[in-house]
């Protein structure tokens, strides 16, 4: 294949590729919007609850724990 022919092929692939990538990811935009439309926002009580547990703990204790866990993990290695 002559270089200029190859360049023309490459240009074709460039065009075709960008069109396809945009078409495909554009399709995904539509898909995501459709999903969002049919998925009601959830209440999200669970994570809040979990934070509460952590909030009740004094920062000192958490720091102590982190250090201990770190030490423990190190020792385990």
């Amino acid at each position: 294949m002559d270089v200029f022919e190859a360049l023309s092929t490459a240009a074709n692939i460039m065009l075709l590729g960008m069109v396809c990538v945009f078409a495909f990811l554009g399709l995904l935009v539509i898909v995501i919007n459709t999903i969002a439309k049919y998925c009601p926002e959830e209440a999200k009580a669970a994570p809040a609850k979990q934070n509460n547990v952590n909030d009740q703990v004094s920062p000192d204790v958490v720091a102590a724990i982190s250090a201990a866990v770190h030490k423990y993990r190190k020792s385990r290695d």
């Binding site: 270089v3 460039m14 590729g17 990811l25 995904l28």
Partner: protein
Amino acid sequence: MEGLLKLWNDTGLANFEVGQVVMMAVGALLLYLAIVRGYEPLLLLPIGFGCVLANIPMAGFTDEGGMLWYVYHVGIETGVFPLLIFMGVGAMTDFGALIANPKMLFLGASAQFGIFATLFGAIALNLVPGFEFSLADASAIAIIGGADGPTAIFLASKLAPELLGAIAVAAYSYMALVPIIQPPIMKALTSVKEREIVMEQLRPVSKKEKVFFPLAVLFATVLFLPAATPLVGMFCLGNLMRECGVVDRLSSTAQNELINIVTIFLGLAVGSKLSAEKFLTIETIGILLLGAVAFSIGTASGVMMAKVMGRFSKTPINPLVGAAGVSAVPMAARVANKVGLEANPHNFLLMHAMGPNVAGVLGSAVAAGILLAIVGG
């Protein structure tokens, strides 16, 4: 005495060829970049070490029956290792930011222009005497612009295995260089005012949406681009395991132990392809050059697209987030955040940049699928 002679004849000293010495220096350079500079150490360290091992004279690591020979043939030639890494990356990726703002997918699409422009560039390089890149070679090189290691390795192993080493090294090196390559381009293409733009807070995304997302991506790929399903499919499997909430053991294993094990082997196997006769060629210089071009064009395309979109969008878009569309997760998103903070110290773009960032992963997997279908078929 005879034994001593035999030992001496077996030593590296007596058998070193110049190319091997140079390749060991390359391996040492990769180790330096990984350890001292912190360039993508998880991959560059095993790659560098594999490079050193592969170039030891008389050691036979890459001969049939040698350890690296097995690892390469079992893991890379079959395509299994990059696919498993991709599954693990899927299990580590949170698509929340993208689902909250799906327009960002266009930035991830736009940045793939780096890939296709580089393909053209690689073919154009054939005009320079000494270069002879086939269309398959050019495609494998161009995917460096996807800024995604496993995608580059997967495509290179299918289209241009003899260039695999150089392509993988270029891909991971430039991914590590993102904080150096991107900022000047980003600043050159935007005004301070544009970089100061504050984006609206993202809406919360429900668990349901996150579960449907990988399934929908898989479905679209199945319908329109089956050639991309190995990569996209394994990626979606990992992401589904992450988000569905019922297989946490599998998800945790996929993003920890399994990906770690595969990473060690993948790195060694890629390093084993860094032999003198394949790496010390003018092609490698071309590949490194084209890789830098690919990253730059991808960054620029992303930023320009973001500027265009910002003009037509109801909600403000900071053009810096477009640069994150090249992927290089999460480095490129961090760079966008950092450059944004320089312009406006109260403007945190990180979450907004994560959208185009993960879109870029999908974008380059799709681009790889297209190249496989057109060039590899």
